[in-house]
């Protein structure tokens, strides 16, 4: 369900079950860089399904490998991550795609929704 941007990639293959956590991570990093624990608490605050530490890092590693996020210098033992230019571009085009999907869905559901 990742859509055209996050869903597949010729170099590293499909994100598979990590497509959704990856999207949540990108959203979480959109306002400011965060380290692992901060991402996790943030995501668990705004998303419906919580993500565990293993899933979080599996998704982080994939995003890093694709160059959508990058690690910053370590602070204490924690290492914050931030969006790269490619990452924020991928996120905004993915969100645009989702927005289009929302519009189509609402239009087809009819005017009852308002």
């Amino acid at each position: 369900m990742g859509g055209p941007v996050l869903g597949s990639d010729r170099s590293t293959g499909d994100l598979g079950r990590f497509a959704e956590p990856a999207l949540l991570i990108l959203v979480s990093l959109a306002d400011a860089p965060k380290h692992g624990y901060a991402i996790m608490t943030d995501v668990n605050a705004f998303a419906a399904s919580p993500i565990g530490p293993g899933t979080l890092y599996a998704a982080l590693a994939r995003l890093e490998r694709r160059g959508l996020i990058e690690p910053m210098g370590p602070e204490d033992r924690r290492r914050p991550y931030r969006l790269t230019a490619g990452g924020s571009e991928a996120l905004s085009s993915h969100l645009a795609e989702m927005r289009r999907l929302v519009q189509v869905g609402r239009a087809r559901l009819g005017a009852a929704d308002g």
């Binding site: 692992g36 996790m40 993500i51 565990g52 530490p53 899933t55 599996a58 590693a61 890093e64 033992r77």
Partner: protein, 284 residues
């Protein structure tokens, strides 16, 4: 319920070496902030398996690039001082690791063989042998092969180890009458299991003299419907399989449906059928 610290350490070993070098410290920091639950541990195990299946960690290219050029030039091979132990080149398997891995592989194969053998042993054989349904043939087929089936003589079905009995005709035969009943219904047929309920000998065919079955091993005697008579050590009559006639008129013996023979109560009055010969006689 938080998981113990030792379990967390164990679970981190699910991740490959390069992953732990790259992410280990920050993951440990995260887990110390969070008090991981058992669910988190399961998630980590899955993550570890995933990390082993996919090479996700980037090689540290920045470090090589950051290294001053002079040091790279200086890195010419020097003669090794005496006594230096050769270290294993990265990516190659040592003899010890190889042996250990092969031991693991061998144990795995052995376990698989054991499991496979156990399953094969327990697997039911429902297509052949007892427990299956045996199509005997239509009544016309049976009569073509053995016309005396219409007169009450048992028809031996080798595969089902049974005698097929035409009950109304068999009664007439055992009473000494001459009858021909070529069209018994499914209710009017019996399949008698030929294994003697005493000690399992195969019960031979009907004797001409008395129209009874007598086991040759210990002399257990049964009437033509397989009911135990006076003679012999068996404790019950011959066992019975279900008989059906399917839509095409084929007689089927279902050996998965099984009824015990009558209890031997040593008295003629408990039998459902009394033939012409005296109760205590057996075939010679």
């Amino acid at each position: 319920m938080p998981a113990p610290v030792a379990a967390v350490g164990l679970v981190m070993r699910a991740y490959p070496q390069d992953w732990r070098e790259r992410y280990g410290a920050e993951m440990a920091a995260l887990l110390s902030d969070r008090e991981p639950s058992w669910r988190d541990l399961l998630d980590l195990v899955r993550g570890g398996v995933d990390a082993r299946l996919h090479r996700l960690v980037k090689p540290p290219t920045q470090l090589v690039a950051a290294m001053p050029r002079r040091e790279v030039v200086m890195a010419v091979p020097l003669p090794r001082p005496y006594g230096v132990v050769e270290t294993q080149p990265i990516g190659e398997l040592s003899r010890r690791a190889f042996m250990r891995r092969m031991l693991g592989v061998g144990a795995g194969i052995l376990a698989l063989e054991f499991i496979g053998g156990t399953l094969a042993f327990l697997w039911p054989q429902l297509r052949a042998g007892l427990g299956a349904k045996f199509a005997v043939g239509t009544l016309a087929d049976i009569l073509a092969e053995q016309p005396s089936f219409a007169n009450g003589w048992p028809y031996a079905v080798g595969a089902a180890r049974s005698f097929l009995i035409n009950v109304p005709a068999a009664r007439e035969l055992a009473l000494g009458h001459d009858a021909s009943i070529p069209n018994p219904t499914a209710d009017q047929m019996l399949a008698l299991y030929r294994k003697c309920p005493h000690l399992g000998c195969q019960v031979p065919g009907l004797c001409d003299e008395l129209k009874r079955f007598t086991c040759r091993c210990h002399g257990s005697t049964y009437n033509i419907l397989g009911e135990k008579l006076k003679e012999g050590p068996a404790q019950r009559g011959m066992d019975r399989f279900a008989v059906q006639v399917n839509d095409n008129g084929v007689v089927v013996i279902d050996t998965s449906q099984y009824t015990f023979g009558n209890l031997d109560r040593q008295d003629v009055k408990f039998l459902s059928f009394v033939d012409a010969a005296p109760y205590e006689r057996k075939c010679q």
